[in-house]
Symmetry: C2
Subunit: 340 residues, 2 copies
Amino acid sequence: MATLKDIARALDLSITQVSRALNDHSDVNEETRLRVKATARAMNYHPNASARKLVSGRSGMVGLVVPQYRNIGQDRLFMEVVAGLSTQFSGRGMQFVLHMMAEHEPALPVYQKLIGTAMLDGFVLIDPMEQDPRIDFLRKAGICFVVHGRSGKVIDYPYFDIENEQLAYDLTAHLTQRGHRRIAFLNGRADRSYVTVREQGYLRALRDGRGEVLPHLHLNGDMDEAHGLTDTIRLFSGDAPRPTAIVCGNVRLARGVYQGLEALGLSVPGDVSVVAHDDELPALRASAFFPSLTVTKSPLRDSWEPLADCLAGAIEGKPLGTLQRLGSYSFIERNSVASL
Amino acid sequence: MATLKDIARALDLSITQVSRALNDHSDVNEETRLRVKATARAMNYHPNASARKLVSGRSGMVGLVVPQYRNIGQDRLFMEVVAGLSTQFSGRGMQFVLHMMAEHEPALPVYQKLIGTAMLDGFVLIDPMEQDPRIDFLRKAGICFVVHGRSGKVIDYPYFDIENEQLAYDLTAHLTQRGHRRIAFLNGRADRSYVTVREQGYLRALRDGRGEVLPHLHLNGDMDEAHGLTDTIRLFSGDAPRPTAIVCGNVRLARGVYQGLEALGLSVPGDVSVVAHDDELPALRASAFFPSLTVTKSPLRDSWEPLADCLAGAIEGKPLGTLQRLGSYSFIERNSVASL
DNA sequence: CGGTTTTCCCGAAACGTTTCGGAAAACATA
DNA sequence: TATGTTTTCCGAAACGTTTCGGGAAAACCG
């Protein structure tokens, strides 16, 4: 491996000047800079990340820590995250590193160890809980991170998020405006922060639109087809008042809801209206539903670039204001809603 | 972060002696060693991987580089690899790091860069091709690696593999011994080394058992249900002589074969006998087939431990002889084969 | 021409660890 | 007493990089 010393010797320069030339410092002759960069390339020089990290505190590596949960193999979403972030950081000349925890391993010690060895410049946190302990932990440790979503009340850290409250409001309001009063909400798992936020939007829309607030119509769980199906069956069984419309946290849930309604002999939108939020994961297109599905849409794949931006910015020490981003979404009306 | 210096100061020892104590060197008083280790734990000391790597050449991190191919999201196998290796290396106090390449990015420059920055101690290579260029490249660069499988003729590197030649032989011979003469083989993609090796076993068994060697009965392709289905339809269409038995490279292929045969109105094993190799991936059990499937079985999940062993051993400089392992497999006879 | 600024460069220190080559002390051997 | 041996320790160098503080020479200014 070629080192700075090798280049310096070859060009009869000091190590200092070679380093400064390669890092585009100001006080180096333009012609020298070019010569240095040329020979660096010719000698196939790559800066030693360990040495660099040791002195400057930066290695150019960032990490993602994920738990190894049971269904991760089928989890299309997870691969999206890894592929998307990996690509983004590669494009910035950084290394993206995935660390998978054992199934029920506690997360904090893992971060502890990773921080202790000081190999990484920062972390991407996905799937934040309400009051996520990782955030406190990393902040106290003084490590850079960016959160996909927002957690807790004090939001003084870099994040990328979409307006989950407003999105749930819009979906629900779309239904109240068409006369629906009993609207079910198939939400995600109750411990996730975005789930709480969406619930607030749902409730606000019900209040604004004179919808009925019925606890049994708000359901939490994994947002997959199976839950969409079983939740639907449950909603339309028993004596409790039944909904005339269903808001789904994602399109996978909606797919299950469609199946459940079909099994029950109910039609969309004749008997029940359905709307959903669409992350635009591949292999499940809301427009290809029959009848096609009305959604709020914000492609998940638009998250990776701002996330990488924010983390890279945080590592460079940019001010917090530039490191908090909100993604937009669009409302797409299709054929899955009827007026009452 | 606590450093060696902090511990040394706290115990009024030299940095040298603290380092030696922590690394279990011989010339340190037993009582001192204990004292050092105790305070290290108390101060929550973790050795700085960068500093260590810089001087000793070891960071305790190993990597896996994977291409980001189209269907990786559905690829249960891929997650098995990541989860399995991650767990194994964690258990050895090492960090396992995943690097995902862009979809058609050439691999060698990625390794080049990863090696150049010198953050990793070694690599795990999966899915080797015949004469895989990565092997030559890493060997020339002097980087440790272990291969899941074997590639090329000169096998002078650490690997873990199963006896693919013999396994294909056994499956095929099981059929010739029961009177089958026209035996199809649904093999993997032609560029993989294990595919070539299995083909050799298949052909050897045909020769030994007086089977017919018919090129149109040996098919290559992705080993998924879709290919099993379409290959089966193809085998039983047209004028070419049809097989009486099918050997499948894995259970997913066999699932497709069963579906294809059912669609064609052919019964297993009445009309066609089927055998397969079983990697024991979750969610697809050969014993749950109807009729239950005769297989050679060697669980893929048994690979991760020897792979990690071999790579860790290579990094420690153990001799090559201890770093080459062969996994075993078992033959399980069930109800998918009939005698002619 | 004297003084000031600008341009370009360099030596040395530092980061946290491992390791080489001793070396003091205690103890045994002759 | 002199000589070796073992035990336990330490100073200093090294790994490859960045960066601080300076400094020589050239260019500019009045």
